[in-house]
């Protein structure tokens, strides 16, 4: 447990020291600020909506880039600089190494969401608007999405050991996960049975990000009432756990 915590904290520090992380964070804050400028273009009657939606979208995009690019980069950097041998030669199991990296990155995501949302809320308050409790629930769902994306990215980088392939796979799964209802429409239209079968399997393997996509309907009390946080937490936990297990199984037998 102590080792796990140490690796997590090390991973967190590694992220904060990274120039890439700082540039990304600064860029996202600038983009959130641009949302304020967009409100000027959105007419007199709908400015709050634009500011809130653009901010939430930027927070999610930043977290996505952070999770995918940083986790791929740091893992491969550990392998390329051979620092992974130093960590693994100590009494640290490979499973703990993976879990440590995972939780370290999640801590970074939590802190980043906090920084960006504070900035966003300040902008909203300066504009004399208000923040609802659904806004905070939306931030939680963004975090849950990142838990899943991170587990997939770690699996991709360990199984493929290539930056480009791992990043592309993660991004494609992110896209597919938001495209599930359209995918089922495409499957219904396809007439070739084998393609239909394969797409059906793909449909049931890819993550269901729509289940966690509260940001698309957080202003509708009807849909918010249908949203179940327990179900979303359960889904995220089980899906991430399965991918983490797969990653650990692969990593245990991997020649570094």
């Amino acid at each position: 447990m102590k080792n796990l915590l140490q690796i997590s904290v090390f991973s967190l520090k590694e992220n904060f020291k990274s120039k890439f992380y700082l540039v990304l964070l600064l860029f996202s804050i600038v983009l959130i600020f641009i949302g304020l400028l967009l409100t000027g273009l959105s007419g007199f009657e709908q400015p709050q909506r634009v500011l809130v939606n653009s901010g939430i979208a930027m927070i999610e995009l930043f977290c996505l880039l952070l999770v995918i690019l940083n986790s791929v980069e740091f893992f491969l950097q550990d392998v390329e600089t051979k620092s992974i041998y130093i960590i693994l030669s100590k009494p640290v199991s490979r499973t703990k190494y993976i879990l440590g990296k995972y939780f370290g990155m999640l801590l970074t995501v939590v802190i980043s969401i906090l920084i960006m949302s504070i900035f966003h809320i300040v902008l909203i308050k300066i504009s004399k608007w208000y923040v609802t409790k659904e806004y905070f629930l939306t931030l939680v769902t963004i975090f849950l999405k990142m838990c899943i994306v991170l587990s997939i990215t770690l699996f991709a980088v360990i199984s493929m050991t290539s930056r480009t392939v791992a990043v592309v796979t993660s991004v494609l799964l992110w896209i597919a996960g938001h495209f599930t209802s359209e995918l089922i429409f495409i499957i219904k239209k396809i007439k070739i049975d084998i393609i239909k079968f394969l797409l059906n399997i793909f449909y049931y393997i890819i993550p269901n990000f729509q289940l966690l996509n509260l940001k698309d309907f957080f202003d509708s009390s009807y849909f918010v009432s249908q949203f179940s946080l327990t179900k979303s937490l359960g889904y995220t936990f089980v899906y991430s756990a399965i991918f983490l297990l797969l990653t650990c199984v692969l990593f245990k037998n991997k020649d570094l």
């Binding site: 995009l61 996960g177 938001h178 359209e182 849909f223």
Partner: protein, 248 residues
């Protein structure tokens, strides 16, 4: 072999997990599928699709809303290319102008079907500013279909749209006084865009109901909406003059 077995078991777990959750009731049923509604306006198709697949549907709908305002706020861009286009949408006020307005509205509401304000704004502009009530009714139907889940909520956007539908029906049937009453009901509901309020004020003025018209313009003046403040000032002066003439 053991490793392979574990991997297969885990993949089966994922499939079962997704089967259990993917068929649940959610916002993303077939009705809101972008392939079913078919995104209009080819120029923006790639932009909309990229936003959509990245999970930024609501944010992209806001950009689409800004583009709608820019389209409607600017000079009418379309020039008639064919002779028959000259007669298309031939109306009293703005013949054939902003022909793609309904597509712009549909684009925003396909991306965010819950964006009630766009239905009100679009229907108001189509029915009374652009004098194309047929298109306005199409947009109403589109909105009613998207907002059907609100049917059991009395003060919802769904029932607000029904009021617009009734007002347009009165207009088409030539029952202008009933139409004005319905528009008043819409404005009193509190969800009407300022544009609809201005339309009602103009109708009151037309039917010599100066007091009611004055009240609405004063409200628009106080709202601070830059689009209506100057107009409100002019209208208030005009209406006060008309009132003076009427009572002298």
């Amino acid at each position: 072999m053991r490793k392979l077995f574990v991997i297969i078991i885990l993949i089966i777990c994922i499939i079962f997990l997704n089967i259990a959750t993917k068929n649940s009731v959610s916002f993303y049923n077939d009705k809101y599928n972008i392939f079913v509604s078919r995104l209009p306006l080819e120029n923006f198709f790639v932009f909309d699709s990229v936003g959509f697949i990245l999970g930024l549907r609501k944010f992209i709908s806001d950009i689409a809303w800004i583009q709608l305002l820019q389209y409607y706020g600017g000079p009418p861009p379309e020039e008639p290319y064919h002779k028959e286009d000259l007669y298309e949408h031939m109306t009293k006020i703005q013949p054939g102008k902003y022909k793609k307005f309904i597509d712009y509205c549909k684009r925003v509401t396909i991306l965010d079907p819950l964006y009630g304000f766009v239905y009100f704004y679009g229907v108001g502009a189509l029915a009374w500013n652009l004098e194309r009530p047929d298109e306005a009714l199409k947009l109403v139907e589109f909105g009613l279909n998207n907002l059907e889940f609100q049917k059991n909520t009395p003060d919802s956007d769904y029932w607000e749209l029904v009021k617009y539908q009734q007002a347009i029906s009165y207009k088409l049937g030539g029952k202008y006084l009933e139409m004005v009453d319905k528009l008043k009901e819409i404005v009193d509901g509190g969800k009407a865009p300022n544009m609809v309020k201005a339309i009602l004020a103009n109708m009151y003025k037309k039917y010599s109901k100066y007091n009611q018209a004055l009240l609405i313009w004063e409200e628009l003046l106080l709202s601070g909406d830059p689009e209506y403040v100057e107009r409100a000032k002019i209208q208030i002066v005009q209406i006060k003059n008309l009132m003076r003439t009427k009572y002298e």
